[in-house]
Amino acid sequence: MSGMRLASISRRLTLSFILAALVPLLAAGWAILLYLTASEKEETFNKIQALSESLASQVDLFLQQPLTSLDQIDLVAQRHLHTDPHQIDQYLSSVVKANPVFETLFLITPDGLIQHIYPGDEDFIGTDMSRQPFFQAASASSANQWSAVFRSPRTGMMTVTLSRNLSHSIVAAHLNLDALSEFTTRLSKHLEVTAFIVDTNGTIIAHPKNDYVARKNNVHSLGIDPAMLGGPSVIVRRLDGEEDLFLSSRLIASTGWYLGTIQSKETALARLHSIKIFLFSAIFLAAVLAFLLALGSIKTTVRPLKIFSRDAEKLASGDYSLDLPASPYLEIEEMRQAFTQMVDAVRQREALLRHKADEFSCYYELGLIGMAEIDPSGRWISVNPYLVELLQSGPEKLIGRSWWDLADARGREKEQHLFAEVVAGRSSGYSIQKRFRLEESIVEAEVSVAAGDRDKQGAVSFLIAIIQDITEKKRTEALLLEHQQNLERRVGERTRSLHDRNTELAQSREEYAELYENAPDMYCTVAIHNLTITQCNQTIVNRLGKTKSELLGQSVCVLYPPEQAATAQVYFAEIVSSGLVQETEQHLCCAGGSLVEAILTVSPTLDNQGQMREIKCCWVDISAQKRIEKRLAHLAQELSRSNEELQQFAYVASHDLQEPLRMIASYTQLLNESYGDQLDDRAKKFLSYAQEGAGRMQDLIEDLLTYSRVATRGTEPEIVSPDHAFSRALANLSEVVTATGATITCDPLPHLKGDLSQLTQLLQNLVGNALKFHGSEPPRIHVGVEQRDGQVVFSVRDNGIGIDPRYASKIFTIFQRLHTRAEFPGTGIGLAICKRIVERHNGRIWFESVPGQGTTFFFTLEPEKEQGGNSIAEASS
């Protein structure tokens, strides 16, 4: 209700009285004024119109005089112009003197020269008037010509020229316009109107004010548009807009001039103005009277209301001691009784409200929830202790501060809109979750805002805010939400994983089924309770030449020949009873009765309780393998026998050949010793050839025997030291080493399992080879060892003549030589022996060589694993 303006009964009553008095008066006055205005206007028009007509008649009459005079001048001129010019001058003089309207009279020759003039002297005679407009107009017509107004050359006054073409000359008269102005002055002086005459150019030629004429003023200077002249009588607004004029004008036919009469509207309607003042005064008096009457009525009506008002104010201030007097007026008395009842009701309600207020105050001060009052502009008005503690801020810091200051910016715009809706009365309140940002913490709160009180226009005077701390609740919600999201994510991942697994499983099943059906082995599944086949693959069906329907549901014994069915029954029964699994070779029976040899592998399948559920059987068909084994055993037996025979032959041959060879050698030596001097040189030469051949034959047989003994006379492998073998080989070669001046070095060699004598032979042959095939420089030989691809590789490197790689395949072949015996002696069996020794030790031998630079022989053996500390290191022998 704050600020609301209420109508006043006393003002309303006063206004009603005044209106009641004024409205009829104003209506009547307005009607009277309308009538009188119209009447006055008509009267004024009639007056100035009559004046215009009267004045126009006077001007016409006035202008007739000079015309009459011109007629007479015409007559005189006709009579005396050529006979007695002096008579003419005298006549002109008399005319001018008799008629003040004439300023000057001329008689002008047809070619424009002044012939006679009055008043004027001789100087003017002969003056050329031919360029004067009046002369030119008169020359062209016989009618009377009225010129435009012009300034008289003689007097300097404004004048007009009246001219006429006479029979022998042209008569012209400058007319004095003062007479016309006198007409207008006379009229204006008595009748409060202004009369004027304007010429055809609109120039004023007659006016009560001579200045208008003397200064050649245009009718515009009267504020009148020349176009208005000659029309009906009208009210015109002056051109300068200052006042309205009543205008009436008449054409003066003889001259083309206009005569106008004007009267200002103010003057014309002066009487109306007086009536107006009278009327307004009467209305004013009536209004005053009505006002006084209103005051009397108001006193009676309003006084009880004032008492009511005063009591109401007392009531508002809490004072219930009323002093309402009884009223003689029915309505006021009823109001008094109602007011008294209202006071009682207010008193009861106040007690109730006070009780409620106490309750609210208790809640407000002691409650476990934040409460505050906010003004409509959004500033804290009050806060309760709980809220002070919640917001960690004293009331002095909150009160007067903006409601939005502590709040988080998020959601502010929305809340401001809701707040504005409440303030505007379009909403009773709202609830919102918001966040208060304190100095060191954040408070999540559930905020409810409601309008506290409203005035009659619905404007909110203050708002109540209830603030509940939900920080913990929000935190828990956030945690739950996070857990839920994690769970959902994991479920999703697990679902996807399961889906992938299912897909893989299905794929695996398909692959398994395909593998199962097409496996090279024969599968079937046997039920343990009756040993029937529950599942089998296509392989067993194909291999046994039966159909699946012949197998499925049948006892497993149908797979076996009839004579072995009982054994098979027992076999499977034992597996079921004991759970022991064993691999066994069996014969399966094909459809045609043929047998299939197979190895059976059994795999029991257990259920969740660890109980056997079924038996998976896998038969690997070994029929082909068995056939190959038999064939290999037969071949091995044959080969063994053949090797033994060959070894025996070689040994026997070499051993048995030695005896006759020794005989040949001995006897040829004896022959040479006994009979050598008896023989000629040729015979001696033959004999030496025979001895040499026998010797070489012995060497061959020795080497061949050695070669054969590699396989037959070898000892059982044992752990040996290659260093020992190397030392023995060097000892055997010591003479050659000394002879060649060779340098032989050796790495520490690892222990290995082998035949010591054969290893000695191997090293001796390789080192001997290097000593034999040396170049121009003394041989340098190095025996080394290294690890290659997990193998121990021995090497014998020299700087000899080298070996052409083209002979790589030949040099390890028995009796193959790359050089002539003359170049390098030998039997060509040494490297063949080396190869045989290495192979007997499950090794491999090869070489790398650059001709002219040297050769390196490599070989591998099956050495015993190192037993500590024997690392590869350089050593020199």
């Binding site: 006393s10 003002r11 031919s130 360029r131 004067q132 050359p153 120039t203 515009h220």
Partner: protein, 383 residues
């Protein structure tokens, strides 16, 4: 509970009554309200008597310009009111009417139309600090002065040099006489002197100078003419208003029909032709006004003027119009009437009816002039 605001209580009834009376009085005084005060400009010139021709034409030119200005909204929204005064061609009256205008609060005075009247009222107007802008004054008496008088007509010296040169070279004048009207002696005397000096420069000689005072002189026009022709000059220069010049020309031609005649721009009105008859045929006079100029602004002005006043415009009317447009333009820019002179000189250039008007630093103006003659009863420009 907030208190209820009462709109009125019985205690306020006397105030109500007072308010009612005031409203009533205001109703009665409706119509008494006045609009914004008009801007007043004064015009002063000779509006009556034989020399009134320039004055009335100049007044009407000024009036036309002000009416056009008011139709376009006035000066910065203020209506312009023209206060017209007649100096009567009398020095004392000129001072008085100028003082009247000053007292009436005019912002500037346009006038006078003759040099003599300007000289008479000069001190009065200068003392007021108002701008006096003359449409027609061309006398060199007012040249070179750093004062508040400005003008839109050129000075006489250029005119007299041009006229003397023409008379000497084109008309063969060696010996000439001068007749001049002392009623406007500030103009006529200096004009005669300038002409004599310029004529002497051409090798000519003024053999006789005859002065008279229009309307008051004892000598008749015929006697003046006789004196002028006594030494048989080659030509006569008549420095007089148009009516007097016309009569003098008639008298001169009556005595010597072959005499060569010249006049000043003062006589340049239709009345010279009408009253001079054939005597003024071939007369030569210089003027800053070209009556047959094809400039669009001038053609439009001529049409408007004749429609408005019912008679043809003249050089005085056109110069009056130009003077008024200059003052109005200056008042639109000036912060106060006292600043009008500085404003006009700062603006310097204004559109005229026949090209731009350009003030020099002292408020004088230079314009091209034309030599005019009367041929077949009409003014025409000489080649």
């Amino acid at each position: 509970m907030k208190p209820i605001r009462r709109r009125a209580s019985p205690k306020t009834i006397p105030f109500l009554a007072m308010r009612f009376v005031l409203i009533w009085l205001s109703i009665l005084s409706i119509g008494g309200c006045e609009s914004q005060e008009p801007l007043r400009i004064g015009f002063v010139g000779t509006l009556s008597g034989k020399a009134a021709l320039l004055g009335t034409a100049g007044r009407d030119g000024v009036l036309l310009a002000i009416e056009e200005c008011n139709r376009q909204g006035g000066v910065n929204g203020r209506k312009v009111e023209l206060l017209v005064r007649d100096d009567g061609n009398e020095a004392e009256q000129a001072k008085n009417v100028d003082q009247e205008l000053i007292n009436a609060g005019v912002s500037a005075i346009l006038g006078h139309m003759s040099s003599e009247m300007t000289a008479a009222a000069y001190e009065t107007v200068m003392a007021s600090g108002l701008v006096l802008l003359s449409p027609t004054v061309s006398s060199v008496e007012f040249s070179g002065l750093d004062d508040n008088m400005l003008r839109v007509a050129g000075t006489s010296d250029a005119l007299t040099r041009g006229l003397a040169g023409h008379c000497a070279t084109q008309r063969g004048w060696k010996r000439a006489a001068i007749i001049y009207d002392l009623a406007n002696k500030t103009y006529s005397l200096s004009y005669a002197d300038l002409y004599e000096r310029a004529f002497a420069a051409t090798g000519g000689r003024i053999i006789r100078r005859i002065s008279f005072v229009s309307g008051t002189d004892a000598l008749s026009m015929k006697a003046i003419a006789k004196q002028a022709l006594e030494d048989n000059p080659d030509g006569v220069l008549v420095i007089a208003a148009s009516l007097d010049a016309a009569i003098l020309c008639q008298q001169l031609k009556k005595i010597n029909p072959n005499i060569s005649l010249a006049s000043s721009g003062w006589a340049f009105t239709e009345e010279l032709v009408q009253n001079g008859g054939k005597a003024v045929e071939g007369i030569v006079l210089p003027s800053y006004y070209q009556p047959h100029s094809p400039e669009a602004a001038y053609v439009a002005f001529k049409k408007s003027f004749e429609q408005r006043f019912g008679y043809p415009s003249s050089f005085a009317a056109s110069l009056g119009y130009e003077a008024a447009t200059v003052v109005l333009a200056g008042l639109k820019e000036a912060s106060s009437p006292r600043q009008l002179k500085e404003t006009l000189l700062r603006m310097q250039r204004f559109p005229g009816l026949r090209g731009d008007l350009v003030f020099d630093r002292l408020g004088d103006i230079q314009r091209p002039f034309t030599l005019l003659t009367v041929r077949d009863g009409r003014f025409s420009e000489m080649q």
